[in-house]
Symmetry: C2
Subunit: 326 residues, 2 copies
């Protein structure tokens, strides 16, 4: 079923059909009527491929997340959706699972013109091949840093936020503070670790213990905490770089027969609803998730509409939420 058949059915040209399809109001009412009639009779649906090929725009943007199970990602995506919709764009989600093949295949949706732009939340700074693949096309990194000067990014000051957490724990009398970090291929992970170390140094504390979680899951957090508890000098506080990791750590602490916060204080990161779901409730760094998403869309649309505009780096504010886990 194509526009041609509709034209034949309605006894007009394809141009006229196209015009009523696109709400161009120069069409004579009678002709419009006949076209509409033909469309509904034949249950015609326009072929978007042909349309997008012709107009060279799709009004769709692709959002690539490494793991849809991460509630922080979901929060950012909500902001993205809201702002995109406000501007007449639809979003498509791709779950990369940090798999390089899948990421490449997703980026082909951009280079292949299926979408007009892409927002990523993954660690791409380490993958120059991907960077060249989508060259100078509209791309913004979200909640993660872009090393490549050509791509815009939006996030928070991770060093600062991590430093604040450590300082806060020290003020509350903790002296052996461990870190449960994410894979260091993420720049934000490197920055938070730097914030952790700088704050300890500043206070003259020498205890250091860092565990790396392979992904941001409950399981990985639990395993990381179990490793920390096996160490010779057990920490009296843990800072986890995501609420999900923190939740996993809490389970490990509980299973070890320790109590929170008496034996072990714990602080998470992201400020997701999950931090309220666990017991005791979790102190955490709240990121402006929806704002990060909204801002990312703003940067992306700007790039789509002005391809030559320079890349921007936006830093938003975070805040600390104090709860019973410290």
């Amino acid at each position: 079923m194509s526009i041609q058949k509709i034209a034949r059915l309605a006894g007009v040209s394809v141009a006229t059909v196209s015009r009523v399809l696109n709400n161009i109001d120069t069409v004579k009412p009678k002709n419009r009527e006949r076209v509409l009639q033909a469309i509904s009779e034949s249950n015609y649906q326009p072929n978007l491929l042909a349309r997008q090929l012709r107009t060279a725009r799709s009004s769709m943007i692709l959002v690539m997340v490494s793991n849809i199970s991460n509630p922080f990602c979901a929060d950012v995506v909500k902001g993205i959706e809201e702002e995109a919709e406000k501007n007449g764009y639809r979003i498509l989600l791709c779950n990369s699972g940090t798999d390089i093949q899948r990421s490449i295949s997703s980026l082909k949706l951009l280079s292949g013109k299926i979408v007009d732009g892409i927002i990523t939340m993954d660690a791409f700074s380490k993958l120059p091949e991907l960077t060249t693949m989508i060259d100078r096309m509209p791309w913004v990194q979200c909640a993660e840093y872009a090393d490549d000067g050509g791509v815009s990014c939006v996030g928070i000051d991770d060093i600062d936020a991590a430093g604040f957490v450590i300082q806060h724990l020290i003020t509350r009398g903790r002296g052996r503070i461990a870190l449960i970090n994410h894979d260091l291929s993420y720049k934000y992970a490197r920055l938070r670790e730097r914030g952790y170390k700088m704050a300890l140094e500043r206070q003259g504390l020498t205890y250091r213990a860092v565990e790396y979680a392979s992904d941001l899951t409950f399981c990985a957090g639990k395993t990381a905490m179990e490793n920390l508890l096996r160490g010779e000098r057990r920490p009296d506080a843990v800072f986890a770089v995501s609420d999900t990791l923190a939740a996993g750590a809490m389970r490990a602490i509980e299973e070890a027969g320790l109590s929170i916060p008496d034996d072990m204080a714990i602080v998470g990161f992201d400020g997701t609803e999950l931090s309220e779901m666990v017991s005791p409730q979790l102190s955490t760094i709240a990121q402006p998730s929806a704002d990060i998403g909204r801002k990312a869309v703003g940067l992306l649309l700007n790039k789509i509409n002005n391809p030559d505009s320079p890349a921007e780096r936006v830093v938003l504010d975070w805040h600390f939420i104090s709860r019973a886990s410290v």
Copy 2:
């Protein structure tokens, strides 16, 4: 940058370029070499729109979920991704947010030929307009029932599972069992409620208390439980139709100063990791989430490859996980 430019650069025809792009091995090595050379020099990327328009296939399927924050959805999606990938398909995710406009716009990706098929997890049985919109195109309902005979679906026996939970609570000495259900536009919600009522009836219990959550969130679960606790005859057990709702209910119970399971037993549904993250850990009905997803892909691909094959209804097994919350 198009196939034409590459052809000119390499001194061959577009047909030859297309052949090397598609790994057709009749191309003479020397020509292949020159084409490959031209491609890498110009950083050419094929236009997928043109390709898909021409071949009438995309090897992509769309997955529509009502809420990506729901961990059960995420689990199902994992199964879908796995099976799709195994068959050379990519998946695109759309977060409908139960918004009708967004759902329509997503379905246009199917009718507009951007994707080859669609898997939905939303309540579409009540929306005949959508059903006619995508007519007889490849579509399967996942973890929800399709009333329309033309669409395949895969799920579990919800009446049975709900009945089992109620029976179990009764056996454990509970007599006033409440239900926190989802919006009744979902058929699974109607079935689980029927299972709840049938089981109570069978045992001659007269207490009934049902609250409806507008969505499957922690917040909605908490509010629902608060309403139940305000009732004149307080329940001594609650069955929530999702782990997320149950987690919210647990928070309300805790805030009311009641203890689980002594004052109030609680059972969730889905068997997501969340049920292990709360304290005490949650008894729940485990759905074969990944299998549901995998099976949905199987049904969909069958429909894509054999458009005239009849719709199928697949029912998979569930099992009960007993934990400290009962």
